[in-house]
């Protein structure tokens, strides 16, 4: 489970022009569900996910993953999460198998357990043909498969996906969405950030609209949609916020 409460992140807090990227964001993502954080670029989605993943420190508020506070035990949080972003984050001079072995060891796996886990992921993502080819020579689809396998090497109960299809072509993006859909399980929490509403419509059980660094709407997907498409619901929400405060309109 991911619990985020009144999260605040200010960049360059001591400069004359500090940037409040996240402003009092709260939501809860439950096991067995896919929680979608939806919003335009610059709304604060990536910052929120990076704080939950302990890559960034919050300026205020709290975030807990599986009951572990991101400030108190960041390594404990990282043990529970798998993180995937649009940039695959692969080492060009390592092969997919070496990548998986490297991160497996960093997550505390080794020996026969690590080898069998790598084999299982290689089979699951159909990576046999390219598992020993340097990542720099892989196609974008192969890279994304490797990247997902890397995020799952330690079989994490929480998966954080930061716009995983934003830089992919339409065919690869469809495959990735199918893979994510297949990763649902009763014990796994998936937190997905995206600005592609069709993806959220297909994958998310619950959604939150993040706009101007704040959560503007939050709840089960059908409840938030209120009979409209998710995209219409989002635009309606954004228009309402801009009408209330035109100064910060996009």
């Amino acid at each position: 489970m991911i619990e985020v409460d009144q999260l605040v992140k200010v960049y360059a807090p001591h400069s004359p022009e500090p940037v409040r990227a996240v402003n009092g964001v709260s939501f809860t993502a439950r096991p067995g569900t896919v929680f979608g954080l939806l919003g335009p670029n610059g709304a604060g989605k990536t910052t929120t996910l990076r704080i939950v993943a302990t890559v960034l420190r919050p300026t205020g508020g709290t975030a807990r993953v599986g009951g572990v506070d991101v400030r108190r035990d960041p390594a404990g949080v990282r043990r529970q999460i798998g993180f995937l972003s649009a940039s695959t984050g692969l080492y060009d001079r390592l092969t997919p198998r070496e990548m998986l072995a490297y991160f497996g060891k960093l997550y505390g796996l080794d020996g026969a357990g690590l080898e069998s886990r790598i084999d299982a992921l290689v089979d699951l993502f159909e990576m046999r043909d390219f598992q020993t080819r340097p990542c720099g020579l892989l196609s974008s689809g192969q890279k994304q498969k490797t990247s997902i396998a890397r995020a799952l090497i330690h079989d994490p109960p929480v998966l954080i996906l930061d716009e995983p299809t934003s830089s992919l072509d339409v065919l690869v993006a469809r495959t990735v969405v199918e893979r994510i859909d297949a990763l649902r399980s009763s014990r796994r929490t998936i937190l997905l950030s995206t600005h592609i509403m069709s993806e959220a419509e297909r994958l998310c059980d619950e959604v939150a609209f993040l706009y101007r660094s704040k959560i503007q709407a939050n709840g089960p997907r059908e409840e938030v949609k209120a009979g409209r498409t998710l995209e219409d619901a989002f635009f309606s929400c954004v228009d309402e916020v801009d009408r209330r405060d035109p100064r910060g309109a996009a």
């Binding site: 400069s15 890559v55 390594a75 993180f83 001079r93 991160f103």
Partner: protein
Amino acid sequence: MSSSVVEIARKEIVEILRDRRSLYVLLLLPIALYPVIVIGTTFLATIQIRKLNQQTHPVWVEGWDELPDELQRLLSEPLPEEQDDDLKRGRQLQLRLSAPPGPKGQAGEQVVRDGVAYEELSPEDYYGQALANDAVRAVIRGAPSLVHLDPHAVPKVEVLYNGGIDASNLARKRISAALALYSEAVVAKRVDAAGLPDTTLTPFVTEAVDRGREGAMLGRLLGALLVVLALTGAFYPALDLGAGEKERGTLETLLLAPISRGSVALGKFWAVFAISLVVALLNLLSLGVTFAFSAGSVPGMSFSVDVASLAACFFVLVPLVAMFSALSLATSTYAASYKEGQAYLTPLMILGTLPPLAAALPGLQLNLPLSLAPVLGASLLIKGIFAGTAHLIHGVLVFGSNLVYALVAVRWVASLYDREEVLWRPAAAKAPDLLGLRREGPVGGVPSMPQALALAVVVLCLQFFAGAKAQQASLIAGLVFTLVALVAGSSVGYAWWLRCDLRKTFAWRAPPAWAWPAALLLGLGALAINLDLGYVQQGWLPGRTPEEIVALQEVTDELSALPWPALLLLIAALPAVTEELCFRGFLLQGLRGEVSGKLAIVISALVFAAVHLDPSRLFPQFFAGCLAGALVIRTRSLWPAMLLHFVHNGTLLGLESLDPETAKALVAADGLPSWTLRLSGWGCAALGGALCLVCARRPRSAG
């Protein structure tokens, strides 16, 4: 070392070694290229010299027909063999002697040659042209005067040659050797004619026996090369592992693993260190063998190196390589992209090569204080190892101090991996707006760091090129011009041009009340501390030369002729206002926007010390700069720093105006303050410092 650190280091090394570019740069260069360069150039030089010796070189001799027979023989026939470097000294060079073909007429006279009218050249110009065109290798003038030598006169023989042409140089050496032999023959005849024994002019012979290591000069060069190459070995891996990883976007993935940031930093450090160390070892072996081999194959050169010396050098290089690996990695980590990393690392590399080059200069020897100097101590020690003059205590100090520096640098790297603003810093998209042309306005109304550093460079150049000249022309007017126009004028003018907030840029605000007594006490205390620091510096850096002391005395004499109030204004008040505006105003406030307060103080104090262009006062100037900078940060006002500066300079003036006996009682001839002065000074400084610490609340910005 934790398993994650080892795993990260192992993976980084594998990645580096899989990069073909790194293999070329790191391994191929030391193993193959250096021997090829050194042996190849030596071989080519030898061949070239042999070729020159096999040729016949035209030499013109004025009065060729009148030349004494013996001298003609000495110039025409090969000289007796002396040493194995005869080839290099041109003693076997074959000369073709003849009378000069021109000039035919008088200088300036119009002559027609091949139907073309020329103005005849003077003999000097004619010979100069012939030598430049390589038509002749040398010209001997005045040789006929040697035919009938008058024992009471010393005629002069001139050998004209062109120093830019190797063959001409060699011909000059050959001719000089022949003339020297002829001179010896003449002397021998005179001695014989006088009925004196042969030993008259040679009552004894001397033989200098070098009991040190063979080839000290080559050892010196090798030492400098080894340190430079050891430092540059860290360049590529550090760039790839720091800025490269950030640019490739793989850093975030790594930071998501359940390991500490310190482990990530350490893993990367060990990888850079291991690769740099291997490169250093390869360089050591490759250059050591190459030098020993090539020196043995070149006549007149000798160089011996043993395994123990190479091992000792490697031992010295270990902490040095560690320190530079950490520094390079830290610099590279700060950069957001590969290109930016190169821009930051290149100056670091250039700075790193200065100490080894300085160590290679003659005269600089390793002593206890220099053992502690970063890079320089190690460079001098390696020079000492090859010269056989290194002592164990120096080795221990150099190794220990460099180890401490390395640990500090590693700690710095680890701290960078814990700073979000460094890890997630966006790549600098624009070049610094030094001229304020983009008119975006300095953030917060103060100059940016590049603008502050640009001012520092400008003031340094102005001081060097204009200030020093102006003071040479007229001391007092020059001083006023330097301080008012060059130091303060450039700062205020630049701030105005950049449309900075002048009050913020120059911290122009009333300080808290406690700041005044604190500044007074610190100013009084700084004097005694600076006398001590000046003394300490003598052990590290060379003091003033006798010429500088004389020049300084002349300045002091001229200034002492001024009335007391004018002197106080010129030496205390004016620098206090103008220099503080520049260094603790524009520079410090500009730096404060982008680096920590401590670093800003250190940088501004370094510039302050450098601008004074007086290496013998480097430590005191730096300390005074730090003190004034800290006061500005603490009080958020420039005014107390001005008072401190005024009190410091004013007290120094007061000390110099005391009668000699009192002054001597306070400051000894070697510059050390008396215990009375020292206790009162340190006491004042301690009181002033305590006042600052107790009364100042931690400011958030100095602006």
